[in-house]
């Protein structure tokens, strides 16, 4: 397909590139940290969208891949002295293997049962790590700041990891687009629309769903390694926060599930709203309540999200909004 020629992909890419270069232009470290968090959200939401938006499987515990990837990568660096360059792909690989194993077990479930199972998985992994000594138990793991010396000191490390996150964010968008306009993606969307019909049409649904689950886990796993390395510590409650999973779903739904630009727009919008709420004295304790309310409103009134709504309204923009 010559779908790479569609403006939609290049617009999405351009938005990420412009956003990613902003801190370089302004030289602001505060802006860099904000953009880092937005890119993290974009990458997580875009990855989740492959499962949620394309295959139609709602994962309420998707943060488990971020947490597990982050934990394993962090452990390899802090305890086994691996370099970041090896730990990041290792984190992605572990997340992919976990997704594959979980897929065998829970992807036969449908609808609400699958969603419930994913919550169970997240909680089970968190509890396990909480009680697992080699990974630090409830206290988690820490790195000494001296570890940053091999990456040119803490300040340089922050830029290095920023660019790593930037590349992974672009990778998430490219992956998202490539899957959507592939034969495989068409199979996933057939599953989303009617799984039984998809089977009758010849889609090997168990394989396709497992592959979607794996693809949706890799980049979150790698992002986890980067995030916790920057953080210089990892502990179970920050790695497996269920609310973060729900925020990922809100981002995808807000921007438009099943679209490529949706998770990008949704994540950026959500982060903007969140930072406004967090800094507002009136709303700072209600930020998560607001996320819940937002999800409710989207599902009730704009179930196709911002991009989906625009696509429905302006048919001529189909090549631009995707």
């Amino acid at each position: 397909m010559n779908s790479w020629k569609y403006p939609a992909f290049w617009i999405a890419l351009l938005l990420v590139v412009i956003g990613g270069l902003l801190p370089v232009i302004t030289g602001s470290n505060v802006l860099r940290e904000n953009i880092f968090l937005i890119m993290l959200s974009v990458a997580l939401a875009s990855s989740l969208n492959i499962l949620l938006g394309y295959a139609g499987y709602v994962s309420f515990g998707h943060i488990v891949f971020f947490g597990v990837g982050g934990y394993i990568g962090f452990y390899l660096m802090a305890v086994q002295n691996w370099s970041l360059w090896l730990a990041v792909p290792a984190g992605g690989l572990v997340a992919a293997i976990l997704a594959w194993l979980l897929g065998l077990a829970i992807l036969r479930l449908r609808g609400a049962y699958f969603a419930l199972a994913t919550i169970g998985v997240n909680e089970a992994v968190r509890t396990f790590i909480n009680n697992f000594g080699p990974l630090g138990g409830p206290i988690g793991l820490e790195v000494n700041f001296s570890i940053y010396q091999q990456y040119g000191g803490a300040a340089t490390m922050q830029w290095t990891t920023y660019w790593l996150a930037f590349i992974l964010t672009i990778a998430a968008i490219v992956l998202s687009y490539a899957v959507k306009f592939s034969r495989f993606g068409l199979g996933l969307m057939a599953i989303r629309e009617d799984e039984d019909a998809a089977m009758v049409m010849g889609v090997r649904t168990p394989n396709a769903k497992t592959m979607a689950y794996i693809l949706s886990a890799i980049i979150p796993g790698m992002m986890g390694v980067i995030f916790f390395f920057r953080n210089s510590s990892v502990e179970p409650h920050s790695a497996f926060r269920l609310t973060r999973s729900i925020e990922m779903i809100v981002m995808v739904m807000l921007g438009g599930q099943g679209t490529v630009q949706g998770p990008l727009v949704g994540a950026a919008l959500y982060e903007a709203i969140r930072s406004f709420l967090l800094t507002s004295p009136l709303f700072k304790d209600l930020q998560l309540a607001f996320a819940g309310l937002l999800l409710l409103l989207i599902i009730l009134f704009v179930p196709s999200g911002v991009i989906g709504w625009l696509r429905g309204r302006y048919r001529k923009l189909w090549r631009v909004l995707e």
Binding site: M1, F181, S182, R183, L186, G187, M189, A190, R192, E193, D194, D196, A197, A198, M199, V200, M201, G202, V203, R204, T205, G258
Partner: protein
């Protein structure tokens, strides 16, 4: 003409039980290549269940389904379609949020022949022309009316390039003009060399297109023969049509067409 040809489908002693309910009871029949075989029976006779067993949605409790010499009993539907056995659904199942074209492309991509998206698009365009749906190509499947959805269902199955096509009540809910059009499509499909097994309640149409008819009642095969033989078979009249006069009227309709 057909006597010399081999059986593309053989159903041998197929039984399907759901708990205590016997939906299909020891059904045996052969379908020679190139024929149109009609499958009739009252509501709840087990016709759709038999389809589901043949194409792998259900595994048979007992018996065997042999397609082109391969025993496909208990295969998954996605493996069955890859051998060249496609079906439509009684209650249409369009992929609502995809376009008509994408629906048919999915059928082509994952069907009997493995196709890339680009090849699938070519096949889809051709098949959409065949079922007269080309002008709806870029519409969302969910926005079609019932008659169009039936044709989409048919196009999607055809796009998989099957040797054998199972049609489950493709005429139900259509008006007389639409029925006539659909019957033409069915006959055209046969001309292309595709064997057809068709469930239908629109009796005069079925009697016209079928080479042979088999009758299910309470899961059992009670009769088998030419459309005329079936319509005059006292067992069928009694068990299925119930009223001998009704049967006569149906046959008159069939002759009148």
């Amino acid at each position: 003409m057909m006597a010399a040809q081999e059986n593309i489908l053989q159903v041998k002693g197929v039984t399907k039980r759901f708990g205590g309910l016997i939906a299909v009871n020891n059904v045996t029949f052969d379908l020679p290549r190139g024929q149109i075989l009609g499958l009739i029976g009252p509501n709840g006779a087990g016709k759709t269940t038999l389809f589901n067993v043949i194409n792998g949605v259900y595994a048979p409790t007992e018996g065997h389904v042999i397609f082109k010499g391969t025993d496909i009993s208990g295969w998954q539907p996605y493996d069955v379609v890859k051998l060249g056995l496609a079906r439509t659904h009684q209650i249409v199942r369009p992929l609502n949020d995809l376009t008509v074209l994408e629906n048919v492309m999915a059928g082509a991509c994952y069907g009997h022949e493995h196709h890339s998206l680009k090849e699938a698009q070519g096949i889809a365009d051709e098949v959409l022309g065949f079922v007269n749906l080309s002008e709806r190509r870029d519409m969302l499947a969910g926005s079609l009316n019932v008659a169009q959805k039936k044709r989409l269902e048919m196009a999607r199955a055809l796009a998989s390039r099957p040797y054998l096509l199972l049609l489950d009540e493709v005429l139900a809910g259509l008006n007389p003009t639409e029925i006539a059009e659909m019957v033409q499509v069915v006959l055209k499909i046969r001309e292309q060399g595709v064997t057809i097994l068709i469930i239908e309640h629109v009796m005069h149409a079925l009697m016209n297109v079928s080479d042979r008819v088999i009758v299910l009642d309470y899961g059992q095969l009670i009769a088998e023969g030419s459309p005329e033989e079936i319509a005059n078979d006292p067992k069928v009249i009694e068990a299925y049509l119930g009223d001998p006069d009704l049967a006569k009227r149906l046959m008159e309709n069939a002759d009148g067409d």
